[in-house]
């Protein structure tokens, strides 16, 4: 068992910006999908969600390649919700530009920006920006290190092998109130857990399949690494897919066909098994990674797993290829008005 959360409870929503469908189940345009996401972020703010995150992708199904621009639009229409990436694929981006984009978001949002950095689980961005997959680990290691330096503020001196060196370089815009929160998303690699500790990032556990409890050792590893390095405690978050509707049955019926179709599409190129209803129900159950159900079901599962994982933050990745904007808006409203207060109640 890990220690009790020492950080405030944060309950957020993430999206990968899956293309939404219209009432006749036809895919909407990329532009329309992006405008819908702005509406979703605004609603999340209105209904009391703490954080809204956008994951960077570069495909026809997931056209959200410039999350910070969309977050800026949401920032202009909200005043409370925190805004961030989930994740920024740092391996194929430039840490200076990432810092500049998110410190700019921090400025326009009045200090509400965060960034969650990842190596990227798919490789779409590598050929797009001219990076070699053979350098995958080295790129992330160096860039995570440089970003940690940039985040401190003040002139940066840094030297690596994957990017030009910086010497006493002032990087603007300066943030108003110290470093904005930064996290590293980890999907199961212990080296990444230790890297997060070494460079003072929060640990964001991305749990997309199997039992959440199996990640508890990663929380312990994070705590022990911080202790060994003589550092202060840092927060732990959980990111998992889900969908909320009025009843368990409705949530499952809405979600399953989209989920199955999405994985069928990915499986066609990656060669793995398409989920069956049976495997889906296992993932929806108490020992699975999906938070699909009524507000009560989802709230109970979130609360239980936050305790098991010693985490203080949960981000539900809502939206699954082809769900309608209307279904997503209903889910966001239920998440904000019913799930968030219920989780707070269960954990108080």
């Amino acid at each position: 068992m890990t220690t009790a959360p020492a950080f405030p409870l944060v309950l957020g929503l993430d999206t990968f910006g899956d293309v939404t469908h219209d009432a006749d189940d036809r895919p909407l345009s990329h532009a329309r999908t992006i405008r819908d996401i702005v509406e979703q972020g605004v609603l999340a703010d209105q209904v009391g969600v703490d954080f809204f995150g956008i994951g960077e992708h570069h495909t026809d199904d997931f056209p959200l390649s410039a999350a910070d621009v969309v977050l800026g639009a949401i920032a202009a229409r909200t005043s409370r919700i925190r805004l961030g990436s989930a994740v920024t694929v740092l391996s194929s981006d430039d840490p200076v530009r990432v810092f500049q984009r998110y410190s700019t978001l921090d400025a326009v949002s009045g200090g509400r920006a965060e960034v969650i950095l990842g190596r990227g689980s798919s490789i779409d961005s590598f050929p797009l920006f001219g990076y070699d997959l053979a350098d995958y680990e080295q790129l992330f290691e160096e860039k995570a290190q440089l970003f940690a330096e940039l985040r401190k503020g003040g002139p940066v001196t840094w030297k690596g092998t994957m990017r030009a060196a910086l010497h006493e370089q002032d990087v603007v815009p300066h943030t108003e109130s110290g470093p904005f929160p930064a996290w590293i998303g980890v999907g199961g690699n212990p080296q990444s857990v230790i890297r997060a500790a070494r460079y003072d990032y929060g640990l964001m556990l991305a749990i997309i399949g199997g039992s959440p409890a199996r990640f508890a050792p990663f929380s312990r590893l994070f705590h022990q690494a911080l202790t060994q390095l003589g550092k202060d405690p840092l927060p732990i978050g959980v990111h998992s897919p889900g969908h909320v509707a009025a009843t368990d049955e409705q949530a499952r019926e809405e979600f399953f066909p989209r989920y199955q179709e999405m994985i069928r599409r990915v499986a066609r190129t990656r060669g793995f098994a398409v989920p069956t209803r049976e495997s889906f129900l296992r993932e929806v159950g108490p020992h699975g990674a999906l938070y699909v159900g009524s507000p009560e079901t989802v709230a109970r599962k979130i609360a239980a797993n936050l305790v098991v994982l010693g985490a203080n933050r949960f981000e539900m990745k809502y939206g699954m290829g082809g769900l309608s904007h209307e279904a997503l808006m209903t889910g966001i409203e239920l998440y904000g008005t019913r799930v968030v207060p219920r989780v707070r109640e269960l954990l108080s």
Binding site: A134, G188, Q191, I194, G209, R270
Partner: protein, 237 residues
């Protein structure tokens, strides 16, 4: 599964059971290595674990994620190992010195998965399965392919005692029958039905895009799924 369970069931454990289990050296402390170390230890195997450099770099990972395993330099881990498990990303394999593994039984858990990991020149030959290419490079080792078609995140949770109705099957493919037997025994003791496949060439059925990759199947369905697919037709897939 455990000796005391067997004893309770009226089966006397062989006196040599524990000590006769070969030492397992897990190469790799990333996603899969610590999980394999844990399940092997739970099955009574002594386990060492090694990454590419100084064991001090993986001491914390070993202590927290695979307590009971000993972190070593790769050469020291391999030196007294009866089974060496390759749990490294495939793109790191070309950096591995074949001499390190000469004479050893090597379990290949890796996959060639271009949509996820990119094209690897050494493995980009549709005429051969990835483990056949591993065997060709590790010419002085006996290579057995297994554990590549189950998610590392499932490996602990899906273990079941022998005879459990929902016990999952895992394929064990190799060119050396004795090596396949040793590894099949490990798979059975971990908690899975081992389905031996005669030859690394047939082991291509276990790869991404194959009929059992990432699917949880019992022995009967597993064997049936393999039989339905003519592996000689899979050259261009």
């Amino acid at each position: 599964m455990r000796d005391d369970d067997l004893a309770a069931a009226g089966v006397a454990p062989a006196a040599t059971t524990l000590s006769s289990r070969p030492r397992v050296a897990v190469l790799g402390a990333g996603h899969t290595g610590p999980v394999i170390a844990r399940v092997a230890m739970a099955a009574g195997y002594p386990v060492t674990i090694a990454a590419s450099g100084d064991p001090a770099n993986i001491a914390l990972i070993t202590d927290v994620l695979a307590p009971g395993a000993e972190a070593r330099w790769a050469a020291d881990a391999v030196a007294d190992a009866g089974i060496v498990v390759l749990a490294i990303p495939l793109h790191r394999f070309p950096d591995l010195d074949p001499a390190l593994l000469a004479g050893r039984l090597v379990v290949d858990t890796m996959n060639y998965w271009p949509p996820v990991d990119g094209v690897q020149e050494m493995f980009d030959d549709p005429a051969y399965g990835s483990s056949e290419i591993v065997q060709r490079r590790l010419a002085r080792s006996r290579v057995v392919k297994t554990l590549n078609h189950i998610g590392y995140h499932e490996l602990e949770d899906d273990r079941r005692p022998p005879g459990a109705p929902d016990r999952r099957a895992l394929g064990v493919a190799g060119d050396d029958p004795a090596a396949v037997r040793t590894v099949a025994d490990l798979i059975e003791r971990i908690g899975y039905d081992a389905v031996p496949l005669d030859g690394l060439r047939v082991g291509r059925l276990l790869q991404p895009g194959g009929p059992v990759f990432g699917v949880s199947l019992g022995r009967t369905e597993f064997t049936r799924a393999l039989a339905r697919t003519d592996h000689t037709d899979r050259g261009s897939s």
